[in-house]
Symmetry: C2
């Protein structure tokens, strides 16, 4: 018997949030892929729960609205501190999310539910063809270095041997009784269990050849180890417990996010969740330790027991964690019921120095960065890693772009990981440290500083201000660079004075010209793999120069020399890879539909006109005015082009007219390949018309 | 072999929108029911498509958000008229929905999709137990008059014999070729086909005994005929065609709703739909007639052909309808592709004089009223009929209310039907009539009047201003009656000067006191069968009298004499039938949670506190200020109680303090029964906590 052999474009190892985000991109773009997980079942409780603004924006861009609709939207953070008289008092309230930073706010929902929305989307985007394969373990991974260097999209340089686990092998281990918990995964990792399994045979193994592999297999990543990469960073002695339960308490702010410092017993963070549950992050001052794990200094001192050695996870119970919480909450009382999940973790900050090998095998998510969970960053950052990577893989697998765009993945995401652990390092020290109390002469941490760091970190934590480095995908001309208040170099083209090149294109409400319907501009730019040129045409009806520039653009786009024509395979719709969206600033009713050049409202092969590519920055009947030009800092008498990447990041800003068109052409010339074959014909599943975009756009 | 015999609380005959709405209510309230339809399949195209504001509010109250999310939201109506030079011009634009009348706007989505959302909801609300039984025909219906008069909830006075059709029998007939159309149903009705089927035997029949039967079986209602009720009204000679397709046109407003009057060729209404489709209502000036159907006057005159007789439906094709449209659109050109559905109809207005028999068998929807479809009223009114009836059936079936509340159904809904056909009569005459052109001396209709009637009808058409008559469910004291600008008597208690008693309780944004989360108040009042007492507590922190009144209420509610305690079966949660929601007007952060009496934030048997019953009219962090007190015309220094029915209609407004409490007690004393048995224990399917309300609330 010979092991089964097969190929796929991308193999995703691990079906947590990072892996599922990769799969969502590839399914949406119509790229063949496989996604495997060694565990037999998805998670149903616990794990991560925080969703940041940028993550919600990305979910919306895939049409995944469930997390926002079902989650608890946190509004306010209350700070509680010792009052010096044995009690606690509320020292401050602040909005949980920075006002105006996004159309979404930070919210919380348990990870299992979030994953289930991904699974639905992967299924619907692939017409039911793609699904997570569970109980599959990778045994080995090999890269053919010579093939790996090929620019061709048709080579499969990575070979992975997979093993089908039997039911017992695939069952995740856990400590404790009936209540779901994350202790096993947290402290030990469960690689040992899986890799100790025996009995590999041709019958239960498969040899899979892939163009690319993405390791999304968590903090104890097997893929990372195979690549020989070691995490760098440090860990601390601070141990925290986590408890998801319904509280019974006389503490008044239990349905607000709270940061509570007690005088003597440590700190708590309260995270009010969906369905009446509250997540508690509880500092564990006295943690049961494994007596055999004394530190060197303890051994030298001949200590009987250890207070710094390895945590004895089997003795961490919900009762133990609750007991610690009760001391911190004093004089308030707290009990819980409906315990959903619990765990404990030791705070540390680690980053992987390298995120890929040969730009063929990548790692992402917890495999690249670990830190404390209280700022709600782990799951979000992990998903944003592969949101960055997924579309690049799609373009390269389809032969649409030069593989060099894959090099931007590590460059763009690793910097963010370093920023994250620096932030976490600072915050967790201030949260876990004993507070300095007024009138006392100790070396405790300043709670005022804690609040300041917390407040300042909110913008970073939202995920909305991440700024990617210059590269072939990010054009940041030196003359536009300027240091901001924190000393960071930001690139802003004065044509769009409120848009930072390299950050995500923020949304504003505009109206469709044809229907007068209010839309968030971002909703016209879903994550379907396309680049967008947002053409801010200005108040062209009252400005002859702008009208002329519109004509120049219209003619260019319909000419044979247009770069969009050059890069779009013959037989494909003209907006398949690069879509032009118009946002003008003339009064809506002053303009008639047919005044716009045909190329801005293109017809398809069936002569059906696209009525949904032209927008106006004007007042709506029922939803107010979006003031988009003001928001982006664009002068309606000047206008601008804004080029937006498939992941929503601003690639470049250019002036209207010939000069700007040439700049944009040059940008795409930098990495897009001229197609060598015509588009594959995709069966039209629904003739319902133009607005139906459920087909993979990149499946040309 | 003996026919199967069975019982159910409610039998619903017909699974169109009216029937599905009934089923949704009963599933939500946990009432045993059956819903049958003689046709073998649900519809997939065509039929109705307009959704009015009030309907969308009701959908929201059931958690049915799909229609709003997927539909096309119409923004603007454009009026086009002959310019006197052989062309057309846009004479006016108006917002499609009256500004501020609802948080939703009129939108369009095809009926089959809407029905599928209902089917999902019925399934999820009944834990998968309830579903539409298709291919089932009622053969006979009998009411036991003596049993029917019983006040007991445990009698089954209606006997219906049902027949299981075989596949061929259950297949709906249609004219024409492959393209779906509604001609057969429209002109002939399909009762003949079904009732001509033979071979009834014990093997394929069932004898079903029900407490109540609801006939939702359409314009040619079999149930109505069994009750011996004849429709009253008139029909006209105006024939219109309907076409759903993707347009290819140079008409500039094709994605706006348009009312187009041509000089000579009749009128068109353009309804832009989802997925690029447009629905056209097209006046057919020359309709093919059945030559054998000459009118009496034609026969007398010895006419060779008929121009007024029966329409020959077999000769109405998409091409014929499109041809008529092309003439009206001149000088603009129009062609279509992707034809989804078509039909034709003859305008008439008819209402059933009686809507029930013995208050045991009811009819609803098209069985009670038919009219022209252009104002988007048919499907909406039908659903609102059974939205009115469903909860009343639930309360009576459970033995919670006196059966007399069922008498309010006909009284409340028939008046609305008369108003509707009067409106339709006026509008359709103005739309179908030849227009009077300026400078010409003819008797054509005034297009200015048409626009005025259209504009004025928008508020009525929204469904948001329906005002139910006084009854045991609607307390309208004479001293509060005042004629409005149209001469209609409206009842407004000055304590809530902008709330009309008898109309639906409009929503306003408020914040939850415990979480500071913005909520639409209506979202805190889902359609789950409960009455609500909305306690507008005023600015009680700055008003000792209001604080005192809060204490009085708190004590009353926790006392044994409370009417809520009296009417709630023992063992049931205290908010199972009548829920108290507090909306105060003190600054949110000036009040601490535990200052509110416990009875306003009740605990359940497990001591879990309800954090979601107390709201505040204050500014939010990210969503502005709802100004609820201002919207309802309630003085924050006075406050008020507003009692809201399970279907969201304002039942009464009462003053705070003892007097108001007594008024409200008297209201409920008027129809609620004192329970004679304890609540049935319902298994808790999810321990997740308090906010989970997926269990049927009335399933006590």
């Amino acid at each position: 018997m010979v092991a089964k052999e097969s190929t796929t474009d991308v193999l995703i190892i691990g079906a947590g949030p990072a892996g599922l985000m990769t799969a969502t991109w590839l399914a949406r773009a119509g790229i063949p892929f496989r996604i495997i997980d060694k565990r037999s079942a998805k998670i149903f409780a616990g794990q991560a729960d925080g969703l940041e603004c940028r993550t919600l924006e990305v979910f919306r861009s895939f049409g995944i609205d469930g997390p926002w609709n079902e989650s608890n939207h946190m509004q306010e953070v209350c700070f509680w501190e010792p009052d010096g008289k044995g009690g606690l008092f509320r020292s401050a309230r602040i909005p949980d999310t920075v006002k105006g930073i996004s159309r979404f706010q930070q919210c919380v929902l348990h990870q299992g539910r979030i994953e289930s929305f991904f699974l639905d989307k992967i299924s619907s985007s692939s017409q039911g063809k793609a699904e997570v394969e569970r109980g599959i373990l990778p045994l080995s991974i090999d890269i053919d270095e010579k093939l790996a260097a090929s620019d061709s999209e048709d080579v499969y340089p990575v070979t992975v041997v997979l093993k089908n686990l039997d039911e017992e092998e695939a069952q995740p281990d856990q400590y404790g009784g009936k209540i779901a918990n994350g202790l096993f995964r947290q402290f030990q990792g469960d690689q040992d269990k899986y890799y100790s399994s025996e009995g590999n045979s041709a019958a239960n193994t498969e040899i899979l050849r892939a163009k690319y592999v993405v390791g999304c297999d968590g903090a104890h990543s097997w893929v990372r180890k195979q690549l020989g990469i070691e995490m760098e960073g440090e860990s601390t002695d601070y141990v925290w417990g986590v408890l998801d339960a319904v509280p019974l308490t006389n503490f008044p702010d239990i349905r607000h996010r709270c940061a509570i410092h007690s005088a003597e017993h440590g700190s708590i963070m309260v995270i009010p969740r969906e369905h009446g549950v509250v997540r508690f992050y509880i500092q564990l001052q006295e943690t049961p330790r494994d007596p055999d794990s004394k530190t060197e200094s303890e051994k030298e001192a001949g200590a009987e027991a250890t207070t710094k050695g390895r945590v004895d996870r089997s003795r961490i119970t919900p009762e133990f964690i609750l007991g610690a919480a009760q001391k911190i909450f004093e004089p308030y009382t707290i009990d819980v019921r409906d315990i959903r999940w619990y765990t404990a973790y030791q705070i540390g900050q680690r980053v992987s120095p390298s995120w890929h090998k040969n730009n063929r095998v990548f790692i992402a998510g917890d495999a690249c960065h670990t830190h404390s969970p209280k700022a709600g960053q782990g799951m979000n950052t992990s998903m944003m890693d592969t949101y960055n990577l997924g579309w690049k893989l799609a373009w390269v697998c389809k032969g649409l772009a030069d593989p060099k765009i894959l090099e931007t993945y590590e460059d763009e995401r690793r910097q963010n990981a370093y920023d994250l652990i620096n932030f976490d390092h600072k915050l967790s020290r201030l949260f876990s440290g004993k507070p300095h109390l007024p009138g006392q002469d100790d070396d405790g941490v300043s709670l005022e500083e804690f609040r300041k760091v917390f407040e300042k970190g909110k913008a970073f934590a939202s995920g909305c201000i991440i700024d990617y480095n210059p590269s072939c995908l990010e054009i940041k001309p030196a003359e536009f660079g300027k240091k901001d208040e924190f000393g960071d170099l930001k690139y802003v083209n004065p044509l769009a004075s409120k848009i930072t090149i390299g950050t995500r294109f923020d949304s504003a409400q505009v109206l469709s010209q044809s229907e007068a319907t209010p839309h968030h501009l971002a909703d016209a730019m879903p994550s379907d793999g396309r680049f967008r040129i947002v053409y801010f045409a200005g108040d062209f009806k009252n400005n002859a120069a702008l009208t002329e520039k519109m004509n120049v653009l219209g003619e260019y786009l319909s000419s044979e020399s247009s770069f969009i024509r050059k890069y779009t395979p013959s037989g494909a719709k003209i907006d398949s890879l690069i879509e032009v969206l118009t946002v003008h600033a003339s009064p809506r009713t002053s303009v008639e539909w047919f005044e716009f050049p045909q190329s801005l409202r293109p017809k398809d092969d069936c002569q059906r006109e696209d009525y949904w590519k032209i927008f106006v920055d004007d007042d709506s009947h029922h939803n107010g005015h979006g003031h988009a030009y003001e928001k982006y800092g664009i002068d309606p008498s000047v206008g601008a082009f804004v080029v937006v990447r498939p992941d929503g990041y601003v690639a470049t800003v250019a002036p209207l007219g010939k000069e700007g068109i040439e700049q944009i052409a040059k940008y795409f010339d930098g990495f897009v390949k001229v197609p060598t074959k015509p588009a594959e014909k995709v069966a039209e599943v629904d003739m319902y018309g133009l607005a139906e975009v459920s087909l993979p756009v990149l499946a040309l």
